[in-house]
């Protein structure tokens, strides 16, 4: 069975833990993943003129983030179909339901313990996603530190951040 799931991210390695935990709950089939980053659309007309979502995603992606995705791809090689990173610009529930419908999202996964820390002009879409008609599931929650550490210990920068926690 092929399905598409959505995980909101903030381009930090920790936010990918939700994806890891989500994939742990799915045992078979093929899963396509949409990683969604919510960003307030620009109000400058010249920015719109040169608007390119691919470039924007590229500038937001860090090396660690890409490597973490590669690690997850290798870990769940047989389960994962495609992973794509998509930008969502919008505030309303309607805009979001359009976004979800266009990508055939079957389920949304959140991390119970990690609150997204979006960068400049970004916002946390969790409340909006919870109100949508697509069903969602919260994953994780047993041990905060252990859960979050797994992926981020591999990356120095985040490892430090966790250790200070």
């Amino acid at each position: 069975m092929e399905r598409t799931i959505l995980v909101p991210i903030d381009f930090k390695v920790e936010s990918l833990n939700a994806l890891r935990l989500a994939l742990n709950t799915i045992n078979e089939g093929k899963v396509n993943v949409v990683l969604m980053y919510a960003k307030i659309p620009t109000d400058s007309i010249s920015d719109f003129l040169f608007y390119s979502p691919d470039e924007m995603v590229d500038s937001l992606k860090t090396n660690e983030f890409e490597e973490a995705i590669a690690i997850l791809k290798n870990r769940y090689e047989s389960l994962l179909g495609s992973i794509s990173v998509e930008l969502f610009h919008g505030y309303s529930a309607n805009a979001l339901s359009n976004f979800l419908e266009a990508r055939n999202i079957d389920k949304i996964y959140f991390s119970k313990n990690y609150k997204l820390k979006p960068g400049k002009k970004g916002f946390d879409p969790t409340p909006l996603l919870k109100k949508s008609r697509v069903s969602y599931q919260e994953v994780g929650g047993e041990s905060v530190v252990a859960e979050r550490k797994t992926l981020s210990t591999l990356f120095n920068y985040f490892g430090l951040e966790i250790a200070n926690h």
């Binding site: 690690i71 290798n74 210990t153 120095n156």
Partner: protein, 457 residues
Amino acid sequence: MKTQLKIALFLIFTNSLMLLLFGGSIYYFLYNYSYTDFYKRLETRATIAAKYNFDADKINAEPFKIIRKEHLEKLSAEKEYLYRVENNNDLAEMAQKSELPMAFLKEILNKGKATRQMDETFFTGIRHESNKQTHIVVVSAKNYYASNHLLFMRNVILLGVLLIALITTYLSFFFSRRIFDPIKHITDRVKQISKDNIHLRIEEKKNDAEISQLISTFNDLLNRLETSFETQNNFVSNASHEFGTPLTSIMGEAEVMLMKQRSPEEYQQSLMSILGQAERLNQITQTLLYLAQTGYTNKRVNFEILRTDDLIWQVKEMIDKLNPKNNIQVDFSLLPENPKKLKVMGNRQLLSLAFTNILTNACKYSNNKPVVVTIASSDDQVFLAFTDHGIGIPESELPFIYDPFFRASNTRNFEGYGIGLPLTRNIIKIHNGQLQLSSVVNEGTTVQIRIPLAKIP
């Protein structure tokens, strides 16, 4: 030849060449033009002369003459020759009279038009036919323009080329010096820096991106050199201290024993202690030897394809034997499904030595609290993380942890020499990997290692 001179000469050469080409082509084309133009002028005159002499009747001829006099400038040494031609004998006669060459006259007759230059005089002749009679009209004059104006022009161009070439020469030298002066300055400054005053730096320049980049690169290099010099100095003092301690205790032990006659038990005990110290010395020397060998990368180590998870298990088994109380957990939650992604090119002995070092340190400094080893891999490298909950390393001492014999200030209660981590880092370096360490005092240390995957087709 100096690069400065080379650049200057190159600039001078190319610029002069272009100038000469420019001046020369102006002169050449103008020269050509002046000739064709002059012949055309002569031809016009010949045509007009033929018209009023042979075509027009007497009444019409007068205005022609007047127009010609009024509107056509009199050329210097202008001369007209008008002849009627009936047969070839006339030509010979004509040539004799006018001193014009026979060939020229024949050419006019045959082709209808011809030009010729003799000395400074130019001739244009045309064949004119009217009332069934053939005439030859020749007009000759001296080309004042060509002989005077062109000469003047040539002198002006030559002078201009010479002048501009001089200016170019000056500018070329000026610019090449301007470019190379800062570099010369850097060279002079770097020459001053030697082993004794390695603290000296080259002062940074503003408004010169490339040069200041070069300077900052030099300064970075000097910084690194200075650090490594210091490390070297520290190494000698640390090493002598490390070697000195067991030697002193061996000597002391032996001296005390030799003071008087002792019982065999006492000798045995003392020899045991001496043996212990000697073993310690041997161990230090062995590790130092390893450190030195791994430090020189010119010595090629034998590499084979290894599975990292396999290696970790072997190391864990070995530590289980040596220290049964250890609590090493291997975390496979991120292990890739494809075992190919765990294979690296490496030397089995060296890599297991590195992992053993890290894991024994993790167990030692955390008093056998849990140590987690995480293995994961991206598309081009294997990630290994060793996390312990030990005493950690003070932040201020983190920059020195790779110096041989350096030991953090909070490690007094633990035995060790401070050679393990530098050795481990050398080993990872040989494998083209990276080793990073982050630590918080009393919370724990995380060692991360990345090793490039083996390229298996």
